[in-house]
């Protein structure tokens, strides 16, 4: 304790000088290098003027990605809070969580009529259980093997152990993929084919929820003259639960063909991530057409370009004799197909319509919640082009549930109080009769479970798993934790969402390649002027 006190004392003096020394060159570098890094104010202003709704759209995307980052960041902050260790392996636990999520979904994968792979939504919800449980175990094991004995060693020793653990987990992730080769051995192992044959290649998730815009469903766009007809026709299409979900939130005229285009280009990935972009934070999902994601191109353009592509897609689709021809004529076909494949013949249409009505009601309710959270309803309607998908709703609500649950647990339960006590003063906690080994293990378990949940959320939202993803995601989440004030739960949540939004805006307005640079630049600036992070008071109290 004595030592840490004198350390912080020395640091404080240095920081005061450093602030000025660091701030000046940073401002200089921003102005100098900002241009190539996408800080082109003229273009940015132009983009925003041509379609102001982009801001809202990126906010939604940022919120969703930020929610995932926040959930990972909680793991860093919890562990740091309790043993003052930056668990560098945490990002890789998240990576393994993504792989476990993929494997959990694998047995339920089926082919969509468009030729893509999909999995039912309930499989994803169930998949949270193994992902969270196994990641919790992994994290507890890491603590037991790599950190416990080093608890009283100098901090750098544990830190190096953590970095070593990170490499080990990364290689486990790489080797995990070789189980994909077993898929050919027997039909029972066919589901392992999701792991592919190339260990290092990104694996794509099946589509769990569609990219369809909930807003189109609730407020049919004026352009779509057939919206009403669709709405009537749709109930017939729906059959099983997943079919209901997917088609309800359905397929606006523009989208289905666009998806079929993508399905051709990259059969496995309905979302069609541009292959070159980095793994952990794939492109914002709204860019359904990878080519238009080149930096700075306005959403508006992307959307306006679609009709042309749609026509092209329709032609191609016809040529290939897929069912997509024109909205009016295509619908009977899917009805029959869906019916044949998934719907028991004796199910009455009335029941389906009831189910539909229920579903629409629930979706509307969810929508109402979202609107309250995100933006005033009028804005959404007026903007029209903003897209909020079920994925956004799911990811954000899961994150909110997890954060609220964690906060409740830490604030109100006996174990939660023991966790806080251990974080504040380990010796005092022991005097209270708290078994701190157990509490530390519990903390790692919770952090691991959150990483597992984030893995599934990423799978649903961004749709890829690759063995290096833990590094980037971990770095961003760690940044988020530091930004919010490491050791502080609310801070981690706030930091995660801020980083997510910042990254989304950087992807849109600056340059995808420079997003990480911008993220860390903001981190540096925040740390220079507020070294404990945005909400980082609690750490100060500890010393």
């Amino acid at each position: 304790m004595q030592q840490t006190l004198s350390n912080t004392g020395r640091f404080r003096i240095n920081r005061k000088q450093l602030r000025w020394l660091l701030a000046l060159p940073i401002i200089y570098i921003v102005l100098l290098l900002g241009q190539p890094a996408g800080l082109d104010l003229v273009r940015i202003v132009e983009t925003i003027r041509s379609d102001p709704s982009i801001i809202l759209q990126q906010l939604i995307i940022g919120l969703s990605n930020g929610a995932i980052i926040a959930i990972i960041a909680l793991g860093y902050t919890l562990v740091y809070g309790i043993i003052e260790l930056v668990n560098f392996a945490h990002g890789d636990v998240f990576m393994l969580g993504t792989f476990i999520s993929l494997l959990a979904l694998a047995p339920f994968i089926y082919l969509t009529p468009e030729g893509g792979q999909a999995a039912p939504w309930w499989a994803a919800l169930l998949g949270f259980i193994p992902a969270m449980a196994i990641c919790a175990l992994i994290n507890v094991a890491i603590e037991r093997v790599a950190y416990r004995r080093l608890r009283n060693a100098p901090r750098i020793v544990a830190l190096i152990s953590a970095i070593g653990m990170s490499f080990i987990l990364q290689n486990i992730g790489l080797q995990l993929a070789s189980f994909g080769k077993l898929a050919t051995v027997s039909p029972q192992l066919q589901w392992l084919s999701v792991l592919g044959t190339n260990n290092a290649a990104p694996k794509s998730f099946p589509t769990v929820l569609t990219n369809d815009n909930l807003l189109d469903l609730l407020f049919p766009p004026q352009a779509a003259t057939t919206a009403e007809g669709e709405a009537e026709a749709e109930p017939d299409v729906q059959a099983t639960m997943n079919a209901i979900i997917e088609a309800t939130l359905a397929a606006s005229v523009e989208e289905s063909p666009a998806e079929s285009v993508l399905a051709e280009e990259t059969p496995a990935e309905e979302e069609a991530m541009p292959p070159g972009t980095e793994e952990a934070t794939p492109e914002p999902m709204l860019e359904a057409t990878p080519e238009v994601t080149t930096e700075g191109e306005a959403m508006a353009e992307a959307v306006e370009e679609q009709p042309a592509e749609v026509e092209g897609a329709i032609e191609e689709a016809q040529a290939e004799a897929t069912m997509l021809t024109e909205e009016a004529t295509e619908e009977p076909t899917p009805i029959e197909e869906a019916g044949d494949e998934t719907m028991p013949a004796d199910e009455s249409e009335q029941a389906e319509e009831d189910a539909m009505a229920d579903l629409i009601a629930t979706v509307q309710a969810e929508q109402a919640v979202m609107e309250e959270e995100l933006v005033p309803a009028e804005d959404v309607v007026a903007a029209g082009r903003i897209r909020i998908t079920l994925k956004d709703v799911l990811v954000i609500s899961v994150a909110v549930i997890l954060m609220v649950a964690l906060r409740w647990f830490v604030q109100n339960t006996r174990l939660g109080k023991a966790m806080r006590a251990t974080a504040q003063n380990r010796d005092a906690a022991r005097i209270m009769g708290i078994d701190i080994d157990r509490i530390i293990a519990l903390t790692f378990a919770i952090g691991g479970a959150l990483a597992g949940a984030a893995g599934m959320m990423t799978g649903i939202y961004n749709g890829t798993a690759v063995f290096t993803m833990g590094f980037t995601a971990g770095l961003r989440a760690f940044t988020a934790a530091v930004l919010g004030g490491i050791g502080n739960i609310t801070g981690a949540a706030l930091g995660g969402i801020l980083i997510g939004i910042l990254a989304a805006f950087s992807d849109q307005f600056f340059s995808v390649r420079w997003t990480n640079a911008w993220v860390f630049l903001i981190l540096v600036v925040v740390l220079i002027f507020r070294p404990t992070g945005l909400l980082g008071q609690e750490v100060g109290e500890k010393a």
Binding site: R414, K417, A418, R420, A421, Q424, N425, D427, A428, A429, R430, I431, M432, G433, I434, D435, I436, E538, E541, K542
Partner: protein, 237 residues
């Protein structure tokens, strides 16, 4: 059989031999005090009893049961609680939460509530500050909280480490009054103090510790009148 018995306890900090064969005992219902100057090993003794430090040699027995191999939470479960040196209040938690943590090992919720009321009756100031964070309390209030928190475990023996440290004389008297009251109500107390006069006045027996060894023992009154003690610890000549 003594309630708490130490026999030839040797404790080290790294290579520093802090306790060099400490032996003493505490009988049920007593107040026993360890006095000695800074660095004599008083706090080390209490930390060793509590299991925060492991002795290299010797035995610590609570009613005949060996404690040296147990983890500190197991020692707490057997009825040893402590108001530690520096109080170690949880600064970010409320007074109430601090007290609740004192009863961490107990499952009898109803009695815990009663005991919290009991602590509040001993220290009315704590009741006023019930929802205030521990870190915002004054030194005296923190000391009250530390003692109250130790009481919450319903200990067989309560270890008090320097309860008078850093407190105004009036507060010290108050605290010692309460220690006496607690003892009269049946709590066995092992009191470590630098303020030897005060400690010996309320103690049944005392032990004098010097550089990790017990050099003198006797009843409170005997030690108060012992010329060596007078010279070394009571500031009399």
């Amino acid at each position: 059989m003594p309630l708490l018995e130490l026999k030839d306890v040797h404790t080290y900090y790294g290579n520093i031999h802090a306790l060099k064969g400490v032996s003493f005992s505490v009988e049920e219902g007593e107040i026993v005090t360890l006095i000695g100057s800074n660095g004599a090993g008083k706090t080390t003794t209490l930390r060793t009893i509590q299991g925060l430090l492991k002795p290299r040699q010797g035995s610590i027995k609570l009613r005949g049961e060996e404690l040296t191999r147990l983890a500190s939470h197991e020692i707490v479960a057997r009825g040893v609680s402590q108001s530690p040196e520096g109080r170690l209040i949880f600064p970010a938690m409320t007074v109430l939460e601090n007290l609740e943590l004192g009863a961490y090992q107990r499952k009898d919720r109803e009695n815990i509530k009663k005991d919290i009321e009991y602590v509040f009756s001993l220290f009315p100031r704590l009741k006023e500050r019930m929802y205030q964070r521990g870190g915002t309390l004054s030194g005296g209030e923190q000391q009250m909280l530390a003692i109250g928190r130790a009481l919450m475990a319903r200990p067989r023996v309560m270890l008090l480490d320097e309860p008078s440290m850093g407190l105004a004389p009036i507060l010290v008297d108050q605290i010692f009054e309460i220690i006496k009251t607690l003892n009269q109500q049946g709590t066995t107390i092992l009191l470590v103090e630098q303020n030897a006069r005060l400690a010996l006045r309320i103690a049944n027996r005392g032990y004098v510790l010097e550089t990790g060894e017990v050099v003198l023992t006797g009843s409170g009154a005997e030690l108060l009148n012992n010329p060596a003690v007078k010279a070394a610890y009571l500031g009399e000549h």
